[in-house]
């Protein structure tokens, strides 16, 4: 197995006035292609920060990150964006759907942005997979939280990404909806071979992952 993501002495700190707050201590990590990984840890331990760094949407304070052969830390914003296109997708705790677009249009959007063929048909297929065909013309405000998150999952998988990052995907959902979303994420991970990195407090999620990492006060621990 080859590592799809690799970090070397990755750190993140912020300064507040004179004071420096270390969020992540030097951290080495490898994630294999097709793996499902969960990151757990107490609130404020740096899980979301780590995920942002791994996904290349935030810049580390020091250290290096590779996505396959490409070093992320050597790229500027434009190049990072180009690298992410069609490779990396996200699911967030509060869905982040575009309120002005319907469910279907939200799912179509990443396909259209990368110029995929037949975006409408592909998006409809994804929506069918998350059992929302009947709601495809509704706007986010008309959907429940669980339904919105399923749309977000459909959107995340629409462009067939290599890696999917999910930050607390069930955080805003009740048990039943959360179960549905978890089921979806792992099924698509299995079926499409997408690498899945999930940050969660949710024991049910943690239990289904192949690998579990724990962050504690900026230090990374491999569980098991």
């Amino acid at each position: 197995m080859t590592a799809i993501l690799r970090t070397e002495q990755l750190t993140k700190w912020v300064t507040s006035g004179e004071q420096r707050i270390d969020i992540l201590h030097p951290l080495d990590l490898q994630i294999q292609a097709g793996e499902s990984v969960v990151i757990v840890g107490p609130s404020g331990s740096g899980k979301s920060t780590l995920m942002s760094l791994l996904a290349g949407i935030d810049a580390p304070s020091s250290g290096r990150i590779w996505l396959e052969q490409q070093e992320l830390t050597a790229l500027d914003e434009g190049e990072l964006a180009a690298l992410r296109r069609g490779t990396i997708s996200f699911v967030f705790q509060d869905f982040l759907l575009l309120p002005a677009l319907t469910a279907l249009e939200n799912v179509m959007l990443p396909l259209q942005l990368i110029g995929a063929e037949a975006p409408r048909e592909q998006a409809q297929a994804r929506l069918a997979e998350v059992a929302l065909t009947a709601r495809q013309h509704h706007f986010p405000a008309q959907l429940s939280g669980g339904e919105q998150q399923r749309v977000a999952v459909a959107r995340a998988y629409a462009s067939h990404p290599r890696i999917l990052f999910a930050d607390e995907p069930t955080g805003n959902l009740d048990a039943a909806s959360g179960e549905q979303v978890i089921e979806l994420l792992f099924r698509l991970n299995r079926e499409q071979g997408t690498t899945l990195v999930v940050v969660t407090h949710d024991e049910r999620v943690a239990g289904r992952a192949q690998r579990r990492l724990q962050l504690d006060a900026g230090q990374l621990l491999e569980l098991d």
Binding site: S52, I57, A59, G78, L98, P99, A100, L113, A141
Partner: protein
């Protein structure tokens, strides 16, 4: 913690989150400064022009007669008595052996009623002390007598106390040849000249700016006296007054529009950014009333701060503009200042209350999703509309000068909002490729907010364009009103038997003699069978024309071009009409309800006659050429008693030598020297043009600054949306194109719609107010299109840069605020 403590904390929080508040403050301050400056300068120009006109005339109106008016005054109630009296006559002044014809003017203690009498080295003065006279510079030169020396006038000896630098009412007291000598009324009686002279003119001047006494007095004037008004006689300044008044009205409308737009957009931007806070307050159990009070207090604080700073800035701006002009300005008083402050605060509250009331009525749950409209509905909407109308009514009551501008602005604004809404609706329905569609997402899916934004931009474009569109035409017109080499001297009272003699002298002196126009003094007795009394009761200037003498003339051969531009009917050409016909000036015709084919009946020295109206004319009175309200067909007036009048340019000499010959040969003829009037008018026009130009330029500059801050208020939301697109894989080029589309379209739509409205407005205003053919400048429209698109694009580019350069994780940290 109780609600009040919470409010205090939140209020501090609002002030700390300075970005948007500072934007709002800047926008409001600029708006206030603009409104202040425009209102004050307009008022000053207006007052100044009125004063200037009246000062040149020596009062608002006057009664003049060849014999004393005292008896008539005694018959008048005290409130109708004149404010000033002047007696003038031509006579000889003697210094040693030298003698000179002078224009003697006896003035009372109140002289001058208006304006300043300036004496060299002594500044402004009133009537000279007893035993002393003020004299014109020509007299000192011609007699060789200096200040402090004595000259003999009639039976009295006077010491020359000073040399006249500027005589405010010189035009009004014209009428004869020779340098001016001013002396006190009592001294004049002592000369023994009054009572024997055959050409004494008695004049009583009245101050009556609101024309309350004019109508009453005009009915009581004895038949041997003549009542004339400044507004009527000073045709030239009247035109200036009217047109500059209209132009300033346009400026005020524009300033109002800009301020209104600023207030609405700034407040909306601020509130949209606070939806979550509002929801939170609701969740924390803060009552709706408290939230309302909090924001009203916030807006009031901001508004007052803006009004104070804006007032100061506006005063500076106003003074700067005034410093460039000087004379034709009079003090404006507090009214325009107070009104502009009140209007600005009112506008802010009117802009803030509806969305505030709407937002605070929405359940917190919906606020959290961010999907709310700031439009009103239901009962509350009616309440707000009622409040708005009441506020508007109040402003209209307070500020009569703002009445028409406000009505125009409100109706224009409404039309634009509707059009913007239509555009947004259409945009949402256009099939378009991905990027423009994404660019317009926000536009078409929240039509209310988008319409407001688009209307704002559009209105701003209108406000910026309108003065610029009209400015060129207006200033050209002002400049074109005064001929460079127009006549500046008039000869009046030329008797028919002197016609040849005068023509010969003038012909010899000037190369070719100027035309001599016959003048018939006539009273209007009927129009289409309606008597003069009933006509005089009409609104407007009818009483001036129906009750007093009119000067009639006949069209001279080949005089059509000089007589004005026909707006109806035709000239007589080579074949004279069967019966007497008359061409009427449009203003005169309007005042009396005269039209083509009307039958006018006049009385000249007891003889009655009728004529049919065969054409209507537009006359450029400012040309200084001789012209007449009523011009008859050749031969129509033959046999009626008349005199002749002519005019010419006297050249650079103070008194052309041939005039001496003329006066000696024909002592009854009077010369009127209007060189001073023409000079004064030219100066006035120059200053007016400069001031209006300054205002018209200040407006767009400040307006552009306003627009810029307004575009920034939209930014937060855009950044959010763009970062999300970024997370979903939008490439640099795609994001850039989306923003180009969004801002380019917004700018282009606003420029097109705004440009269209501005051009329509300019067309309408040129036709109806300025009475000039509108010349649309495609260059300006194009310039505005490019300008608006460039401005919006620049703002969009700034946003795009910000997004392209920053890591998208920011979005995840900065949750919607």
């Amino acid at each position: 913690m109780n609600a009040r403590g919470l409010l205090r904390i939140l209020f501090a929080g609002e002030l700390r989150r300075s970005g948007q508040l500072v934007g709002l403050l800047v926008a409001l301050t600029a708006g206030c400064a603009l409104l202040w400056a425009v209102a004050v300068v307009s008022a000053r120009i207006d007052n100044g022009l009125n004063l200037h006109t009246a000062a040149l005339f020596g009062g608002d109106f006057r009664v003049s007669a060849p014999r004393p008016l005292d008896e008539w005054f005694d018959s008048l109630p005290p409130e109708l008595k004149p404010q000033g009296q002047i007696i003038s006559l031509p006579t000889m002044a003697r210094y040693g052996q030298a003698m000179r014809l002078v224009r003697l003017k006896g003035v009372d203690d109140g002289y001058p009623l208006l304006g300043e009498l300036r004496i060299e080295g002594q500044g402004a003065q009133g009537s000279p002390p007893p035993g002393q006279v003020w004299v014109g510079p020509a007299l000192v030169r011609q007699l060789g007598a200096g200040v402090g020396e004595s000259i003999l006038i009639g039976q009295s000896e006077f010491s020359i106390a000073g040399i006249i630098e500027r005589e405010p009412d010189s035009v009004a007291s014209g009428f004869s040849l020779g340098p001016r000598v001013i002396l006190g009324m009592v001294d004049l009686a002592g000369t023994g000249l009054v009572g024997f002279g055959s050409r004494i003119s008695y004049r009583a001047s009245f101050l009556d700016p609101d024309e309350t006494r004019l109508a009453i007095l005009s009915e009581r004037v004895p038949p041997w006296a003549r009542l004339t008004t400044a507004a009527e006689e000073m045709n030239q300044t009247r035109e200036l007054l009217r047109k500059s008044g209209h132009f300033m009205m346009v400026l005020v409308i524009s300033a109002l529009l800009l301020c209104g737009v600023t207030a609405v957009l700034a407040v909306q931007g601020l509130l949209v950014g606070r939806l979550r806070d509002l929801a939170l307050l609701g969740l924390l159990g803060v009552t709706r009333g408290s939230v309302l009070r909090l924001f009203v207090a916030l807006f009031l604080t901001l508004g007052i701060a803006a009004v104070v700073m804006g007032g100061l800035l506006g005063e500076l701006l106003q003074r700067g503009i005034v410093a460039m002009m000087g004379e034709p300005l009079a003090a404006a008083g507090f009214k325009p200042r107070l009104v502009s402050l009140a209007v600005m605060l009112g506008l802010l509250m009117v802009a803030a209350l509806p969305p505030l009331l709407a937002v605070t009525a929405i359940p917190p749950k919906r606020l959290l999703t961010g999907q709310v409209s700031l439009w009103l509905s239901g009962r509350r909407a009616w309440l707000i509309i009622g409040l708005l109308l009441a506020g508007l009514g109040l402003i209209l009551l307070l500020a009569d000068a703002l009445r028409l501008p406000l009505l125009l602005a409100v109706s224009g604004g409404l039309a634009i909002v509707l059009l913007a809404r239509l555009q947004v609706w259409l945009l949402g329905r256009l099939p378009a490729p991905l990027e423009p569609r994404l660019a317009l997402l926000g536009l078409s899916r929240s039509p209310a907010r988008s319409s407001i934004a688009l209307s704002g931009l559009t209105l701003a474009v209108v406000a910026l364009m309108l003065p610029l569109l009209l400015r060129g035409d207006f200033i050209d017109q002002l400049a074109g009103q005064l001929p460079v080499d127009g006549p500046d001297r008039y000869l009046i009272d030329i008797q028919p038997d002197q016609h040849r003699g005068v023509s010969e002298v003038l012909g010899a002196a000037l190369g070719s003699p100027p035309p001599l126009h016959p003048v018939y003094r006539a009273r209007l007795t009927r129009v289409d069978g309606i008597g003069a009394k009933r006509l005089a009761a009409r609104e407007g200037r009818a009483h001036l024309y129906a009750q007093r003498e009119n000067n009639l003339s006949e069209l001279l051969p080949g005089g059509e071009a000089e007589a004005g531009e026909l707006i109806a009917g035709r000239w007589w050409g080579a074949n004279p009409p069967a019966g007497p016909e008359v061409s009427v000036e449009e203003g005169w015709a309007d005042a009396l309800g005269v039209d083509l084919g009307s039958e006018l009946e006049f009385n000249v020295a007891g003889q009655s006659f009728r004529a049919r109206v065969s054409s209507l004319r537009r006359v450029n009175w400012s040309s200084m050429e001789i012209n007449f309200f009523l011009l008859f067909s050749p031969g129509a007036l033959t046999g009626l008693p008349h005199t002749f009048i002519t005019a010419y340019n006297g050249g650079s000499a103070e008194v052309p030598a041939f005039e001496e010959t003329l006066i000696r040969q024909f002592p009854n003829i009077s010369v009127i020297d209007v060189a001073q009037l023409v000079g004064g008018l030219r100066e006035l026009v120059d200053q007016l043009a400069r001031a209006l130009l300054a205002l018209a330029v200040a407006l767009p500059v400040i307006g552009a600054a306003l627009l810029w801050t307004l575009l920034l208020t939209d930014r937060q939301q855009l950044v959010r949306e763009a970062l999300l697109l970024r997370l979903l894989g939008a490439a640099d080029g795609q994001l850039r194109r989306i923003y180009l589309w969004r801002y380019g379209l917004l700018g282009a739509l606003a420029a097109l719609l705004g440009g269209g409205v501005a051009i329509a407005g300019a067309y309408y205003l040129s036709q109806s107010l300025f009475e000039m053919a509108y010349r649309p400048g495609p260059g300006l429209l194009l310039g505005f299109l490019v300008g608006a698109v460039a401005l919006t694009l620049a703002s969009g580019y700034g946003t795009a840069r910000m997004i392209l350069d920053s890591p998208p994780a920011r979005l995840l940290r900065q949750r919607p605020s």
